[in-house]
Symmetry: C3
Subunit: 269 residues, 3 copies
């Protein structure tokens, strides 16, 4: 796993412009769609049980994010995920803010059992999903990324998926390899939905890569580097949000290659 692999995924994603079905929090829906479009993929956002399981059949990848879970989403998300799995469409589970909500924990575990291609979450959410954490108080993480490594490895092995843990240094694992990504900026935590947008970007990358680990790392580097670049030119989180989308759009594969801060830890057995 190298910066070169990341750059190749980015280039391929923009060339193929995959259709990404995003089931996501109402609060971040607009940023998720705009980030997906800015990066070069095509978002599709509908979530009702009547429409979503049908529409997903045309998608190249699916994001199932549990943030701001509506009644429509409660019914539509599991039905849509089931169709994606049947058809072999890669999908991302983002158990956003599950900590304080038993309803959401139950739904996240039900979805986990169906077999996501990738789980993307912060440290607290990973701990709750693995059944070992209290879960933060809101949408933010109160646990360190390091502390979530055993839980991430465990989830990846038990469910045959990749797990990406967001934090100061991000961590991506398939249960054997552990990749650390040191791109990113604190300002990303001051805008609602940047994690959700990373979920959608990850789904878009999964659509053009046969290696989920590679796709997840590429998306993490892309978003992190966009955040770094954006943070250098802004006064605060309002202009950062716009600059982040600009960078997702403007970053070249060469810049991805030059800026990627990836470290592959020794394989863990």
């Amino acid at each position: 796993m190298s910066g070169l692999d990341c750059a190749a995924v980015v280039e391929r994603m923009r060339r193929r412009a995959p259709l990404v079905h995003c089931l996501t929090a109402a609060v971040s829906m607009n940023l998720v769609a705009d980030a997906t479009l800015a990066a070069g993929a095509r978002p599709m956002m509908t979530e009702t049980q009547q429409e979503a399981p049908f529409v997903v059949r045309r998608a190249d990848a699916l994001l199932a994010n549990l943030g701001t879970l509506s009644t429509d989403g409660m019914a539509g998300i599991p039905a849509t995920v089931r169709v994606a799995v049947e058809r072999g469409i890669p999908w991302v589970l983002d158990p956003a803010a599950i900590g304080p909500s038993p309803v959401r924990i139950e739904l996240a575990r039900e979805l986990l059992a169906v077999g996501p291609t990738l789980v993307r979450a912060n440290a607290s959410e990973v701990l709750v999903l693995a059944g070992v954490g209290a879960g933060g108080r809101g949408a933010d993480a109160s646990d360190r990324v390091d502390a979530a490594l055993p839980a991430a490895l465990d989830l990846a092995r038990r469910h045959g998926c990749v797990v990406a843990v967001s934090g100061e240094v991000d961590l991506v694992t398939d249960g054997t390899h552990v990749v650390q990504v040191a791109n990113g900026h604190l300002m990303l935590t001051r805008v609602t939905g940047t994690g959700c947008a990373l979920g959608a970007l990850s789904a878009a990358c999964l659509a053009v890569s046969d290696e989920p680990l590679e796709a997840a790392v590429a998306a993490t580097v892309w978003m992190g580097l966009a955040g770094q670049q954006a943070a250098g030119r802004v006064r605060g989180p309002g202009s950062f949000r716009a600059a982040l989308l600009d960078e997702l759009y403007a970053l070249t594969p060469e810049e991805i290659l030059a800026g990627a801060r990836i470290q592959t830890a020794q394989e863990i057995r």
Copy 2:
């Protein structure tokens, strides 16, 4: 139909500040409301069956956009449209992303039968609505505007409405006259909801014009020109979104007149 007519509509819309009831996709709701406000009209956004059919009675125009169709919208949209029609309130049908969704196709055709003042859509959506296209894969158009002209003429004649088709060169027809608008910029396709916002702006213009063709052309020129101006000053789609709203707000009738690129084709019989 000339740039002078467009400038007059813009001036009148700002002076009267019509109340525009917007039933629209959750994903674009914020941009639609902000664009409506920026341009000088006043948006109203509620969609439940309990509220919307009552509230619409105070509106000067209505937008019925089928994007991200929720369970609330499924029930509320047709009920609200019916009240608007009874009371002679002009209304816009935007069959957003109907292609992949049988539920949405059925609802769009039901609404079409009620008689919209204006249908605003991309080429693929117009073809599906007219029953002759496969409909693109997501929210984007996979068909050319030219290819949708016969379908647009047919819809306009059968339903006595104006049809506005978005694309590289936009096309607006009442079934007899065909107006081409060459304003716009590719960056408009990189921000979610600019088409939805054009629907709301069209509704606001319908509220202050007795000529639906004129209103639709004026809104198309206004949005297109705002996009052109905005694109010149930005790095990517994030800052473009903000600049687009700035231009909808700042463009003067004189600039509309100077920048309008309208061509009226020979009448078609």
Copy 3:
């Protein structure tokens, strides 16, 4: 009540970063969350009856805003408010755009009877809530702030709450004291949801102050001053929205102190 008190509230809010549960209009949800984050608090947005009454138990304050009222919100809002009241969590009632909607008026009065800590609204909404106004036509106020003073005093006294009325000069009263805040800028009316965001900011300030009057004035000054600063550097409402968030984030307690334009009227008996 002085600029010094406001500065102290701002400083304390950022230090404690309270968790604010925001039940708010779909159209403004993203701005509300981003403004809350930018200012230094932590937003939590879920609204279903299944989740929200449970999740609110972890919150430090609650906003109940009735804008774009969904079926989920109709059921979830009163259930969540009840839990907040039982647990002594301070809460803000924002009867957004109640004027044209009997459903919303009924819900607002039901919530008012439960006893909000603060009612935040424009003049027209205050008049409708007090049962003496026709309510504007949409989300905007058609009545002057002065004209709403008797209604605001009446509401504050009958329900033992603070009432904050937004307008050209804002007015905050606990039924005895009347504080006028002359911060703010007209551009705040050209962006959807700035009033909703003020509601969330007020809730965040209530979480760190034992004096609801002080908290409401501090939030009003903070938002108003951010609007003034932002308006000086932008071309229109699109860039204003971003700049407003930047200023909520960047304004220092010293700037709050220097910029606050507060006037305490003689006590009213």
